[in-house]
């Protein structure tokens, strides 16, 4: 498919650049905290993939739904989730967006349309399809966007979602973030053929974007969402990207051998979406100082939030037993 959507204007580009930075700064912090033994569990970082979530979510409002993955921090923040509430959650604090109950793999903000990161690979497919059905019934142009990885694209629910959503013409955008790996298994070993080709048998249009170029993601996803919002049914978008960190920050502790070459990682670091975003800004006439100012501002703001989060209160164990059922809390 050709990218014929118009280009993001400078204001939009700046906003997306800043969002990417927020994700990056937050996750650099979380990674460092994990390595310092300050987090209760390992984190799956989105570092290197920021352009994908940000370029897509730039088209969404709070009323649109997203579902996310185990690698969900980026989607949460891209969709407008509060960095403080997310950091506090991952620090297991009561200020956390899930009150410390969910943690890194389960950050959710239902009021902002974020139906949650998900520890089950492919777990979002059914949920997003249901949310899209809800949106369809409401008939007010809402969409549901389902983020999932290339590994998740081999779960059967992917096909089930395409089949049903196509039949019911649901406003569902399926976004496969193709980073070439599922855990420590290379995509070629786990995936037969090209994922993008799986859409057409269901009469679903397929879109592809450079997942490390926020402008390209923005353009292509804009077109895809236009189609989805128009009532024509679902679309599949594959963004090609890479995680430049490990599968999970804990992996160095348990892996006995490397699973990818340093050159491979370096080749993708060279395509860092944030640096490419900065270059786009410069091309668009944004001054170098302004870009630096944004970087400094984000850095300071995340640092401040992180500090606040660390000193927030622990959650109250008395709440646990009432948390399974809403009736129990009443």
């Amino acid at each position: 498919m050709r990218n014929d959507y118009h280009n993001p204007d400078p204001e939009k580009l700046v906003a997306m650049f800043e969002r990417m930075l927020v994700i990056r700064e937050t996750e650099e912090y979380l990674g460092a905290q994990f390595r310092a033994g300050e987090l209760p569990a390992g984190v799956h970082l989105y570092i290197g993939q920021e352009a994908s979530g940000v370029g897509i979510c730039a088209h969404l409002g709070d009323e649109d739904w997203i579902t996310s993955t185990h690698r969900g921090h980026g989607h949460f923040l891209a969709k407008g989730g509060d960095p403080y509430a997310m950091i506090a959650e991952i620090h297991a604090k009561s200020d956390g967006i899930c009150g410390g109950f969910g943690g890194t793999m389960h950050v959710a903000d239902v009021a902002r349309g974020i139906l949650g990161a998900n520890g089950i690979v492919g777990g979002g497919l059914g949920i997003a399809t249901g949310a899209a059905f809800a949106a369809k019934l409401e008939g007010n142009g809402k969409v549901a966007v389902c983020f999932f990885g290339d590994g998740a694209a081999n779960q059967g629910t992917f096909m089930e979602a395409m089949n049903l959503a196509s039949l019911w013409k649901l406003p569902l955008l399926l976004v496969c973030e193709h980073n070439g790996w599922s855990e420590f298994t290379r995509s070629e070993v786990a995936t037969s053929g090209r994922i993008i080709d799986r859409a057409s048998p269901f009469n679903i249009p397929g879109f592809e974007a450079d997942g490390n170029d926020v402008a390209d993601v923005w353009r292509v996803s804009g077109r895809a969402l236009e189609s989805v919002r128009s009532g024509e049914g679902p679309a599949l978008l594959v963004t090609y990207t890479y995680r430049t960190r490990g599968h999970v920050e804990a992996e160095v502790n348990f892996l006995s051998q490397p699973y990818r070459s340093e050159e491979e990682v370096a080749s993708w670091v060279a395509k860092d979406p944030i640096e490419r975003g900065a270059a786009l800004l410069a091309q668009g006439g944004i001054a170098e100082e302004e870009i630096s100012a944004i970087r400094a501002r984000v850095k300071a703001s995340i640092a401040e939030m992180a500090k606040r989060a660390r000193s927030a209160a622990d959650p109250d164990p008395a709440r646990v037993r009432s948390m399974m059922f809403s009736a129990a809390e009443a």
Binding site: A108, A128, G130, F133, A327
Partner: protein
């Protein structure tokens, strides 16, 4: 009071509730024509938006129910036979039962999943499971198991009005049986057992289709001068532990009748509660009349050999009362 078959009573409940609340949406395989009759006529009345046949893809359907509920709707998902809930088990166990806690209470999940369950009709191993023990262990789903038309209607209405996920199981063999259904907006609260028969010698807790067998057994026992009290828990999550213990305090003896396989059954849970909270009242062992740990064979003669029946229940009660150790 009206006489209705259980399946009609559920159908009535669906009509009334969908009429009342426009956010209730029913979907599932062949719900339009309705295999069992419980969803009959709903498509014609409420239209294609709110009543929908789906493709065969249970793994997606249970996930969709979560997504719809999270997005503010009240889905009712019909899974036909309870065995097919295994095909859609992931989203029930990993999402539906957990998301409320995982999101720190943000997510409200008013979901009803309905299915027929149980054996006794030669439907063989893959159409006869009683999976409620599994759901009971998940922690985050309510489980309703009506035994009669009136309760079926009232529990169904409570299920669709609940803001939490409910697994609503219809005893497969009982859809055709007539029963009294109270008039009006009949609601049966969750977690309240019903005393189906009063008696002072033994408490029989019987689940769903087992109530009828327990009643038959009680009649036989009454001829021997043994008066059994029969309790129908109606919901297994929440379970009316206090109601069961109150009956136990009157009788001192407990038999639990459950169509599920024995290991980790609802019967075992109830027995465990009795052995813990009710120990001081127990005059004898807690017996379980269950299906041994086998799946249902096809041949009627084989199925009968493992399916609970009135004689087995009565024999267990007699043994319990006759055993000298526990007089």
């Amino acid at each position: 009071m009206a006489k209705r078959r259980m399946i009609q009573a559920i159908n009535d409940a669906m009509f009334e509730e969908m009429e009342r609340d426009p956010r209730i949406v029913l979907f599932g395989e062949d719900v339009e024509i309705s295999m069992f009759g419980d969803t009959k006529g709903l498509r014609e009345r409420f239209g294609p938006d709110r009543v929908r046949d789906t493709p065969i893809c249970e793994a997606l359907l249970t996930g969709m129910a979560v997504g719809m509920a999270a997005a503010g709707w009240r889905p009712v998902l019909h899974m036909m036979f309870a065995n097919f809930m295994y095909t859609g088990f992931d989203a029930i166990a990993n999402q539906m039962a957990k998301l409320r806690l995982m999101t720190g209470g943000q997510m409200k999940l008013p979901i009803t999943i309905m299915a027929g369950f149980g054996g006794g009709r030669s439907t063989a191993a893959q159409h006869s499971d009683c999976p409620y023990p599994l759901f009971m262990n998940l922690g985050g789903v309510h489980v309703a198991v009506p035994s009669n038309a009136g309760d079926a209607k009232g529990l169904f209405k409570s299920a669709v009005r609940s803001d939490d996920p409910v697994i609503f199981l219809e005893p497969g063999g009982r859809g055709g049986e007539m029963g009294e259904v109270p008039d009006g907006d009949h609601l049966v609260p969750f977690g309240r057992a019903s005393v189906r028969r009063s008696g002072s010698d033994v408490t029989i807790v019987a689940i769903s289709a087992m109530v009828k067998l327990a009643e038959q057994a009680a009649k036989q026992l009454a001829q021997d001068g043994i008066e059994a009290e029969i309790l129908d828990p109606r919901t297994l999550v929440p379970l009316d532990e206090d109601g069961i213990l109150a009956s136990l305090s009157r009788t001192g003896r407990l038999v639990v009748v459950d169509e599920a396989r024995d290991r980790c059954s609802a019967a075992s849970q109830i027995a465990a509660v009795a052995a813990d909270r009710g120990f001081a009242m127990l005059k004898g062992p807690v017996r379980r009349v269950t299906v041994p740990d086998v799946c249902m064979p096809y041949a009627p003669v084989l199925e009968r050999s493992v399916y609970p029946n009135a004689e087995r229940i009565a024999d267990v009660v007699r043994e319990l009362l006759n055993c000298r150790d526990y007089q």
